[in-house]
């Protein structure tokens, strides 16, 4: 299988697109107004505003204690593998009784592998309620794949594996961009490339509310970074005084935007310039877009999502109809002390996602915003004593008014460390690829089927580009 060549082909399609953009005079995507670029004619901006929000769980989420088998047979398998004693928990197994109030009963009597009944972690009651309401769906065993792969094909290497499996930084990058660390563009940014023609202000197409990451970088689209409290302004410039001198303030502005020959200096000056140019504009827009939803106090993910909600509320002033956002939380690399810490993290996640969804209801855009989780990798089902180690596939969540929720998507793995749906110690061999996941999101967002390979370079090797968890995705025109 000549996979690298196909990756190269889709990259060349990008370069072609970029050079077309350049030829049209859109040399700088920092310019506020990139309206009128006709390149992305294949991109559908119908249906009003739409946004995708990536919630990245850094460290590799322990899916085994996020979505837990509850039926007696499968719970017993889970407990045995994770060092639990009967139904009491122990090792890294949660007690069965703690799961009773978060059991997920899918609508229409959907059954999954081995008739597993899943419960959410006990600290996720809000997402359980969203599941029951039909606005949340778990997607089972998602992970990077270059092509569908069986355990035998994994073992005999007849199908290529994604490079550098089980490595944090590389799998973060692979999830975000289809390639290991060093990748230049992520699929959020590549959707931004296609979508920015729909926006009056291209700069606000890809918004990052967390640390720098490749996900939101496109060939043209650049992530614009906001803090949890909006744009951070250069105080001396806002005040017009640096140590009470107006002249020093003007000098500061000149100096900040001067790059003088060195490439790194020029890049730094460019970011200073962007920050100076757009900060006040963003904050003015945010000021007129208040949200009353309670995002709590001290939940850092909720703080980021509140900033995202603010940007969505300000979409009219910002001049955007298509946006891709990224937020994140860390702390998921629990090789030790999984019990306790992990439930705490999931409680924060549960609260933050629910508050954000509530805010989209308040803003009247619940059907137009889809939130999804991503993570470095899933973890081993096997215990290393009081934690779990790096794995591959993992379970994820999508949340939003367009989510065809209240049921599961993808294939449930056996609760096992020796069946062929895992590659040892319960490291799941993914059955839904990140490309299928991203394609489903992209189609809903407005990407045309013919452009999907630019978002998900391996999608052509999978049976369908639409896993079906988003309601309107098949209605795409």
């Amino acid at each position: 299988m000549h996979i690298s060549r196909e990756l190269e082909l889709s990259r060349r399609a990008f370069l072609r697109r970029s050079s077309q953009l350049a030829a049209m005079g859109a040399a700088s995507s920092y310019a506020l107004d990139l309206a009128g670029i006709g390149e992305a004619a294949a991109f559908s901006s119908s249906g009003g505003y739409k946004a995708l929000v990536c919630v990245f769980l850094y460290g590799g989420n322990d899916h085994g204690n996020t979505l837990i088998p509850f039926d007696p047979t499968n719970y017993a398998r889970y407990a045995a593998i994770r060092g639990g004693i009967d139904d009491q928990g122990g090792g890294i197994a949660l007690p069965r009784s703690s799961l009773a109030s978060t059991v997920l009963m899918p609508a229409g009597g959907q059954t999954v592998t081995d008739d597993i009944t899943y419960a959410l972690a006990p600290t996720m009651p809000r997402l359980k309620a969203r599941f029951d309401q039909g606005s949340m769906a778990p997607i089972l065993n998602v992970g990077p794949l270059l092509a569908p792969m069986t355990r035998a094909e994994y073992d005999n290497r007849s199908v290529p594996r994604p490079p550098k499996l089980f490595s944090h930084n590389d799998q973060q990058s692979t999830w975000q961009s289809s390639q290991p660390e060093g990748s230049q563009t992520g699929w959020g940014g590549r959707m931004g490339d296609l979508a920015q023609s729909a926006n009056t202000n291209a700069m606000f197409t890809a918004i990052n509310a967390t640390g720098n990451a490749v996900f939101l970088s496109g060939e043209q689209a650049l992530p614009y970074q906001v803090s949890s409290s909006g744009a951070v302004l250069f105080r001396p410039l806002e005040r017009g005084r640096l140590f009470r001198s107006g002249a020093a303030t003007s000098a500061l502005e000149t100096i900040l935007t001067t790059g003088s020959g060195n490439i790194l200096a020029a890049d730094y000056a460019t970011i200073n310039d962007r920050s100076i140019k757009f900060g006040s504009f963003v904050n003015d827009a945010l000021e007129n877009a208040a949200i009353s939803t309670d995002f709590g106090d001290g939940n850092r993910l909720a703080d980021q999502l509140k900033a995202v909600a603010g940007m969505i509320a300000a979409r009219g002033s910002l001049g955007v109809t298509r946006q891709v956002f990224m937020v994140s939380m860390g702390g998921f690399d629990n090789h030790d002390g999984l019990i306790g810490r992990h439930e705490g993290l999931l409680a924060e996640l549960d609260f933050a996602l629910d508050a954000f969804y509530q805010a989209t209801i308040e803003l009247g855009v619940a059907d137009q915003v889809t939130t999804f989780t991503a993570s470095d990798f899933g973890r081993t089902l096997a215990s290393n004593g009081d934690g779990s180690d790096h794995g591959w596939g993992g379970h994820h969540f999508v949340l939003g008014g367009s989510v065809n929720g209240g049921r599961f998507y993808g294939r449930a793995p056996h609760v096992s460390v020796d069946t062929p749906d895992q590659v040892g110690r319960g490291r799941l061999l993914p059955t839904t690829s990140v490309d299928e996941y991203s394609s489903t999101l992209a189609l809903w967002f407005g990407v045309s089927p013919s452009d999907l390979p630019s978002i998900a370079p391996n999608i052509g090797r999978f049976a369908s580009s639409d896993v079906g968890f988003l309601r309107s995705s098949t209605m795409h025109t």
């Binding site: 490079p163 230049q184 992530p223 803090s227 002249a247 000098a251 060195n262 020029a266 290393n384």
Partner: protein, 511 residues
């Protein structure tokens, strides 16, 4: 520098740290069990490292130790044990003690250090127990290969990847991880000298004395907090990276064999050399530069491999580092790390600590502080990755790496200037324990041109461009100062000058 670089460097490198972290904790009483309950927090760890970086001698040694702390990462954010300050202090002392010693000795000390043991889970790691489904923790085994020694794929000695039919060659498989993980089993904290004192805040509980977070972890179970007869080391055969450690080998001997084998891997020299050059000199060293340093790593000229003193000298004295023409090369240099900018500000202008403790805390907030704080990396992957470049940038278009730019975005650039404005006069609440004296600058303040020349020299080694200097000079002339003006007026001009220089990209990029 009339004597030349090398004699000066030799002299600097001979200086031991004259006031270690351990001495700091002892002198400040931060290692005592009392009502302050210092055993319970992390702030004394921040105070310690700021005191180390902002004051005292052996600055060259500390600069290298700081670079090492970004390669062998342990973060105060995430070491879950009591006495976190002294624990990370011992880690810092290890890096200082070994900064010009042997790589092999250093990697063993950091492997057995309690802070690392807790951070990457070697502490309490046990052999497999099939009955309970338990397998050894793989965290340290994986990261010591990926991050601390050989990296993910095979390298030529000049740091370029080796290729097999055009493909990268991975250095290890997941089976290697699973096998080497067995080496790091059976170790736990050494309580053999530890005494216990009632917790003043909760007398039903006792607090172990600080020594157990300083001594290397031990595989001797009689020294653990709960003394046992038998340990938990995996004694079965271990096979990884072409090495077989026979069944029945002790924990200590397994560790020795594994570390010898890792350090002898041909990747270590170029892998380590490239990152240290990036930390100290330039983000994009030439293959020739890397290969010259890697050659010194392989053999210091006296037959020793991994002699760090020789490696660091090779980095600083390389023709590429010293070539004056490089200053004008648009692709040379590195972005100064935010924490180093602050250290430079403080040391250059005579920082003092009111309390003597250097009570500066975590400055990681990018919106109003540095967006970086020493020994506070967000993960074992450091504050930024060696292969990072900012997307949509000229660096990327020119295939140039810019690791430190992983911290640079619209928020952090504004946050830095706002920090600077309140750091030069230490008016920020989080710097209230510090003051800056500006004793060399006050006599110059009435002479704006002289002041600019002086700041250019002490902050950028005369690398301000003429236009930036002119811009700064006109701004400072707008702040009227006479020779007999009060110090407050003089300081206002000095503060403005320092902010303007340190905000300039001529300063921000070290060349």
């Amino acid at each position: 520098m009339s004597e030349g670089y090398e004699p000066w460097l030799n002299r600097e490198m001979r200086q031991a740290n004259d006031f270690t972290a351990q001495q700091y904790f002892e002198a400040r009483g931060f290692d005592q069990v009392d009502d302050n309950r210092f055993f319970n927090g992390t702030s004394t760890g921040d105070y310690m490292i700021w005191s180390q970086l902002l004051s005292g001698g052996s600055a060259v040694r500390k600069r290298f130790a700081l670079a090492l702390s970004e390669f062998f990462v342990v973060s105060l954010n995430d070491i879950n044990l009591s006495w976190r300050g002294p624990a990370i202090g011992e880690y810092w002392d290890i890096l200082n003690r070994n900064a010009f010693g042997s790589f092999r000795a250093l990697i063993e000390e950091i492997t057995l250090n309690p802070a690392m043991g807790v951070y990457l889970n070697t502490r309490g790691n046990r052999r497999a127990d099939p009955r309970r489904g338990r397998v050894p923790d793989e965290n340290f085994g994986r990261e010591i290969m990926q991050l601390f020694s050989i990296g993910l794929f095979e390298l030529n000695q000049d740091g370029t990847p080796r290729l097999n039919s055009g493909e990268l060659i991975e250095t290890y498989t997941n089976d290697d991880v699973t096998e080497i993980a067995k080496v790091f089993t059976g170790y736990d904290l050494d309580y053999s000298q530890t005494t216990f004192t009632p917790d003043p805040g909760n007398p039903s509980r006792t607090i172990a004395s600080v020594d157990h977070v300083r001594r290397p972890m031990t595989a001797d179970p009689s020294k653990w907090s709960r003394s046992l007869n038998d340990g938990f080391h995996a004694t079965e055969e271990k096979q990884f990276l072409g090495l077989t450690i026979p069944a029945g080998t002790s924990a200590e001997e397994s560790l020795r064999l594994a570390l010898d084998h890792l350090v002898d891997h041909p990747n270590v020299g170029p892998f380590f050399a490239r990152q240290m050059i990036q930390r100290l000199v330039t983000s994009n060293p030439s293959p020739g530069y890397i290969s010259r340093v890697a050659a010194v790593f392989a053999n210091n000229g006296r037959g020793q491999r991994g002699d760090l003193g020789s490696v660091f000298k090779a980095i600083l004295l390389d023709e590429e580092a010293l070539d004056p023409a490089k200053v004008a090369d648009p692709s040379f240099g590195k972005l100064r790390e935010p924490m180093l900018r602050f250290v430079q500000l403080a040391r250059t202008f005579g920082v003092r600590s009111e309390s003597g403790n250097f009570e500066v805390r975590n400055l990681s907030n990018p919106a109003n502080q540095l967006g970086q704080s020493p020994l506070r990396s967000p993960s074992v992957f450091n504050f930024f990755r060696p292969g990072y470049f900012p997307t949509g940038s000229q660096s990327a278009a020119n295939n140039l790496l810019a690791p430190e730019f992983q911290l640079v975005n619209e928020t952090s650039v504004a946050g830095y200037v706002n920090f600077l404005e309140r750091a030069v006069d230490t008016s920020a609440w989080f710097l209230r324990d510090l003051s800056l004296r500006y004793s060399a600058e006050l006599p110059l303040a009435h002479d704006a041109a002289g002041l600019v020349e002086h700041l250019d020299l002490v902050l950028t080694a005369n690398q301000l461009s003429a236009s930036v200097k002119d811009t700064i000079l006109s701004a400072l002339e707008d702040i009227p100062v006479e020779q007999n003006s009060p110090d407050t007026d003089k300081l206002r001009r000095i503060h403005a000058g320092v902010v303007l220089v340190m905000a300039s990209t001529d300063y921000l990029v070290q060349k």
